[in-house]
């Protein structure tokens, strides 16, 4: 599946002067007395796949929840295309072009593939019937088939209920749904944690196609070889802060593990004292 991917030919999008499509600066998030994020930074540029890694409890999931609007931060700011944004709810994030695929599948099993792709954004018929709530099912079937084709997601048919798909197909549909609607960033929280080898390869292929289609992808993963295979850059979190940044081409699995455990850091230490 990696044939012709050509990561080397495509820069990670930095250095062209454009601000990151999504950036977090000095994010603080507290749960009672526990400070889950202690001035966390994060950035993803247009058209790049950034892996967000860190040990359990490093604050990855919390940062993802802040970036997707699920849990508003207590301090720091989120910038979209360089402009500060307030993400008070997942809807705010989605309006800003940020779509998230959560760890537990957010699909409706009894609905068809097409219905899931359009869930919450159904196409209605034109004119009065549409205003009365009538669905244009044919348009949705066609749109879903076209979108899945472009992303290389294979399902028996778009009218198949999700319950009849394999785990990999389901996850691919969930990822495709986010990719299709995200105008800038797709956030994936452990998208392959529950999948087998072949199914994982399928999902990674969808991620690569999403990047090829101009989306930025944030990938949270525990799987180091996978991270190095699919990501352009890696950002490492430790104890609620970003401690290291790498270009994926320049590092080894050992480097990543060292960064996760605190043996290696690329970020200035004083960043910790900012707050």
């Amino acid at each position: 599946m990696s044939a012709g991917r050509g990561r080397t030919s495509r820069g990670p999008g930095r250095g062209d002067g454009a601000p990151p499509v999504l950036e977090a600066r000095g994010i603080v998030k507290r749960f009672g007395h526990v400070e889950a994020l202690r001035g966390a930074d994060f950035a993803v540029h247009r058209g790049e796949v950034v892996a967000l890694i860190g040990d359990n409890g490093a604050g990855k999931s919390t940062l993802i929840k802040v970036l997707s609007g699920a849990q508003p931060q207590d301090g720091g700011e989120i910038l979209v295309d360089g402009r500060p944004q307030r993400f008070g709810s997942p809807l705010d994030a989605r309006r800003a072009g940020v779509e998230t695929v959560y760890q537990d599948l957010a699909v409706a099993d009894d609905l068809s593939v097409a219905a899931n792709l359009y869930l919450g954004r159904e196409i209605r018929r034109r004119g009065l019937p549409g205003r009365l709530g009538l669905l244009d099912k044919r348009a949705m079937r066609r749109g879903a088939a076209a979108a899945l084709e472009q992303l290389g997601v294979r399902v028996p048919r778009v009218t198949t209920p999700i319950a009849m798909l394999s785990g990999g197909q389901r996850q691919s549909v969930a990822v495709a749904r986010a990719v299709v609607w995200a105008t800038s960033v797709v956030i994936l929280d452990e998208p392959t944690a529950a999948l087998g080898v072949v199914q994982t390869a399928r999902v990674l292929e969808v991620i690569e196609r999403a990047r090829d289609a101009g989306r930025s992808v944030v990938l949270v993963s525990h799987n180091m070889p996978q991270v190095l295979e699919v990501a352009d850059r890696v950002e490492v979190m430790r104890l609620g802060r970003r401690t290291a940044r790498f270009r994926a081409a320049d590092v080894t699995t050992d480097d990543l593990v060292a960064a996760m455990t605190g043996a290696l850091a690329t970020e200035p230490e004083d960043a910790a004292d900012l707050h």
Binding site: G4, P90, L91, R94, Y102, D104, L105, A106, V107, A108, D109, D110, L111, A115, L117, L119, G120, R121, E122, R124, L132, G133, L134, L135, K137, G143, A144, A146, A147, E149, Q150, L151, P156, R157, T159, T160, P161, A163, M164, L165, S166, V179, V180, W181, T183, R209, D212, A213, G214
Partner: protein, 349 residues
């Protein structure tokens, strides 16, 4: 859909696809057939059972296949069917409504009282009954979607409170001395068809259309299938779930009025145990108590099956106690087949 990049033709992929499409066409057909069959399988099973029962009863009793009796079965089915349609919508959302019997009685009694005491016509009274049902549904909906009570508990409370209200309003005495016109809804006919059957047909067609063709219907299935996914997709879950209970309540009110009209009185004891019959009808027709599945066509067959069992039992002089046992057996069989079908589908996935 805003995917900007056009697919890049990759020669090796095209070749692979070509090979796959030759062997794949047959598989796809089989796949498609399987999907359609699987969604209709409980309906098919229930319809077969209904036909077998129909033939058996025609042979067993000379009174079964008569115009009078069929008319009777029709209007008997009507009440169960209208309320079972309401129950089906709720079951699809992964809910359940135990209060349908009490609410139907309340609506019927209030409908009878406004005719007797306030001189309302039967049609005006029907509108009042529908309003009573919708109000009860609104309370259920607010308790479930707003206060987050489990549907079983919320409607169990409404079952008790509603029934209590019926007894308070009537003093536990039936509402009689109604004009003959009160019977129009339940016992009248148009062109040889019981009026109640025509009403049921309209309710069923409207509900089937709503569930299968509109965005609201799509959300009903989505909420029952995965409430969290529906919420994260930006669906206003609270509002839509409440609306389902209001709509179902309105239909229950209508059903209660039809029932009162059939016996030309408001009966405070009407509908005790009715919730079991309509839940059975929905489940026999393929609605899943786990949510996300169910169709009006199946529910109609289920309602008809139950009405025929009841009617046939009377004709064959089988006691009401045995009827209960028979309905129980049917429910077990229906759910067993449903789970069997589901396991087979999931084993494939």
């Amino acid at each position: 859909m805003p995917v900007s990049r056009s697919p890049r033709p990759d020669p090796s992929a095209t070749a692979a696809t070509a090979v796959e499409s030759v062997t794949g066409a047959r598989d796809r057909f089989r796949e498609s057939l399987r999907e359609h069959l699987s969604s209709a399988v409980s309906e098919f099973t229930a319809a077969t059972a209904l036909i077998v029962l129909f033939v058996a009863l025609s042979l067993a009793s000379p009174h079964f296949l008569t115009a009078d009796n069929l008319f009777n079965i029709g209007s008997q089915t009507a009440v169960i069917a209208i309320i079972a349609v309401a129950q089906t919508m709720i079951i699809i959302t992964k809910g359940i409504d135990l209060s349908v019997g009490a609410v139907a009685a309340l609506a019927g009694v209030v409908g009878a009282i406004v005719v007797r005491d306030l001189g309302f016509t039967v049609w005006e009274a029907t509108a009042v009954a529908v309003g009573v049902g919708a109000s009860a549904g609104l309370v259920n909906g607010l308790l479930i979607a707003g206060a987050r009570l489990p549907p079983f508990i919320a409607t169990l409370g409404m079952m008790s409170a509603g029934r209590g209200l019926v007894f308070i309003i009537t003093g536990a005495v039936g509402v009689y001395s109604l004009p003959e016109s009160f019977q129009l809804l339940g016992n009248g006919e148009i062109a040889g068809v019981p009026f109640a059957v025509a009403v049921t047909a309209a309710v069923a067609l409207g509900s089937a259309f709503l569930l299968s063709q509109t965005r609201f219907g799509q959300y009903v299935y989505a909420m029952g299938s995965n409430m969290e996914a529906a919420r994260r997709s930006g669906i206003a879950v609270r509002r839509h779930l409440t609306a389902v209970y209001v709509l179902a309540g309105a239909l229950v009110g209508l059903g209660g009025m039809v029932a009162a009209s059939r016996v030309n009185s408001g009966q405070p004891n009407y509908g005790i145990g009715l919730e079991l019959d309509v839940i059975a009808a929905a489940v026999i027709g393929g609605a899943s108590l786990f949510g996300g599945q169910g169709r009006i066509a199946g529910t109609l067959i289920g309602a008809f099956l139950i009405a025929v069992v009841r009617n046939g039992s009377v004709l064959l002089d089988i006691s009401i106690h045995y009827q209960q046992v028979i309905v129980g057996l049917i429910i077990w069989a229906a759910v067993y087949f449903d789970q069997f079908r589901r396991r087979r589908l999931e084993a494939r996935g």
